[in-house]
């Protein structure tokens, strides 16, 4: 842990700040949320890494998606993700957001979450142990150090693609686009 290295702090304070102050959106998306209470309380204590559940998306910069994503939850996930201020990091927890997991042929869960919002890291397993969250956090630190956790920039660049995929499963979205897109571009993006 290089939290105490002064030179690194002076070189890029914002990067170090983001590394050691990851406030997670406390948003229960699936069964994986059952692993979060033990990891933030006395048994595994995530606060020593600077990870803390934030009360609202506006105050957060880490989005843990815990477990399967149904269509209804996807809508809430997209809105929550768009409300979070930049820079923001997403970690998908469990095997369901990776490829559908045990819900792979279900009629109303989605299979690949990274088609709808950008994901910076994955934790495989069903269920992953709480220790896996800490391993993911340390991996996320390395990614932030190397400027590789830039999903929020990807979301802005490829917003047309993401929006088209969102509209493909959810129908017409009731909220306006986060970044400007042309209307007829969406269908082409969904095909390609």
């Amino acid at each position: 842990m290089d939290r105490n290295k002064l030179i690194k702090w002076l070189k890029s304070p914002s990067k170090m700040g983001h590394k050691y102050s990851l406030h997670a959106v406390y948003f229960c998306t699936g069964c994986g949320i059952i692993e979060v209470p033990p990891s933030i309380t006395a048994r595994w204590d995530a606060e020593r890494f600077g990870v803390l559940p934030a009360a609202t998306p506006r105050q957060a910069n880490l989005f843990l998606i815990t477990g399967y994503v149904s269509l209804k939850t996807l809508k809430a996930i997209i809105r929550t993700y768009e409300q979070m201020p930049d820079p923001k990091f997403t970690v998908a927890f469990g095997s369901c957001p990776i490829n559908g997991g045990m819900y792979w042929d279900s009629y109303n869960t989605i299979k690949h979450l990274d088609k709808y919002i950008p994901i910076d890291g994955w934790i495989a397993g069903c269920m992953p142990r709480p220790e896996a969250i800490f391993i993911a956090v340390t991996h996320l630190w390395q990614l932030i150090d190397k400027d590789m956790a830039e999903g929020y920039k990807k979301y802005r660049q490829n917003y047309k693609y993401y929006r088209a995929n969102q509209e493909l499963v959810l129908g017409k979205l009731s909220w306006p686009p986060l970044f400007p897109v042309e209307e007829n571009g969406l269908k082409e993006a969904a095909k390609g």
């Binding site: 102050s21 006395a42 201020p85």
Partner: protein
């Protein structure tokens, strides 16, 4: 020389406040058998928040939080830190009573601009709670001012250093106890953390705050801790001759408050009002009557 204090006094309060926030999280973690974050964690959080993009909800949203922070900084000018008191010769306690209301009012104005239902609940709770503790606080300050025949806080500190701390001398002991009873409400810690209840109303007035706004709100919270405790130390524990002893005194009071925070659950707003207007007000009123009749 007096001029430097205008810069040093708020800066010192800011450092002490951030240290208190770090200590708060560390000691709470140790009480709950956790390892806890490093003591610099609030500073790391604030650096992170300042580097994060933030969303504004209008001009009043920006100005309100600045008003709140300014209110806290101005109050600090009137409160003596040991021998440091840039403005405490003028105005005294009456000015402090008025200026202490600026901080909740600024947050209320700022939050009102962002139309979130949680904010309205949080603001109404904040103002009701302020109403709750202002009544006993006014009675306590009236008792202190009557007993020492002065409104100047510097004079009160000097008189206490001559004749012993007010908390341990006879006529003011009841007022001191009443102040201890309302101190958690002034600081907004656990039995009275109704305003920013994160699990109930998702941090109340701060719901729409992100990035730099939340950082300013955090700094304001740190200053509030210092103001509430140092007012108590000046009025009832006799202030201090130098800054170090003053710091030790507010540290002791803060850690005692922390244990209360760790031991008690959160009250509902009507329970808080019922409590604040019954026991502290009653004790403060009896204390005032004793002081007046003496």
């Amino acid at each position: 020389m007096q001029f430097i204090y205008f810069i040093v006094s708020p800066l010192l309060a800011l450092i002490i406040g951030l240290f208190f926030l770090g200590l708060f999280r560390k000691i709470m973690a140790r009480i709950q058998w956790r390892y806890g974050p490093p003591i610099t964690q609030p500073i790391i959080d604030i650096i992170r928040l300042f580097s994060q993009k933030s969303v504004s909800h209008g001009h009043l949203f920006n100005l309100g939080i600045v008003l709140s922070l300014t209110g806290s900084l101005v109050v600090l000018m009137f409160i003596p830190f040991g021998k440091m008191h840039p403005l405490s010769n003028s105005g005294g306690l009456l000015v402090i009573i008025y200026l202490m209301l600026l901080a909740p009012l600024g947050i209320a104005l700022s939050g009102g601009e962002a139309a979130n239902p949680n904010i309205s609940i949080g603001i109404s709770r904040e103002l009701i709670l302020a109403l709750g503790y202002e009544v006993p606080l006014l009675l306590i300050m009236l008792a202190v001012m009557t007993h020492y025949h002065t409104i100047s806080i510097v004079r009160i500190v000097a008189l206490q250093q001559e004749s012993g701390e007010a908390l341990f001398s006879l006529p003011l002991v009841l007022s001191g106890i009443a102040y201890i009873l309302i101190l958690p409400a002034i600081l907004g810690i656990r039995p009275f953390d109704i305003v920013k209840a994160p699990q109930e109303i998702s941090s109340g007035p701060l719901v729409e705050y992100g990035g730099a706004y939340l950082a300013l709100a955090e700094i304001q919270h740190a200053l509030t801790l210092v103001i509430g405790i140092s007012l108590f130390v000046n009025l009832f524990l006799g202030g201090a001759k130098n800054v170090l002893i003053f710091f030790l005194k507010i540290l002791v009071v803060f850690i005692l408050g922390l244990f209360i925070n760790a031991a008690l659950p959160r009250m509902r707003i009507e329970q808080a009002i019922k409590y604040l207007w019954r026991w502290p007000t009653l004790i403060a009123f009896i204390g005032l009557i004793i002081v007046v009749l003496k």
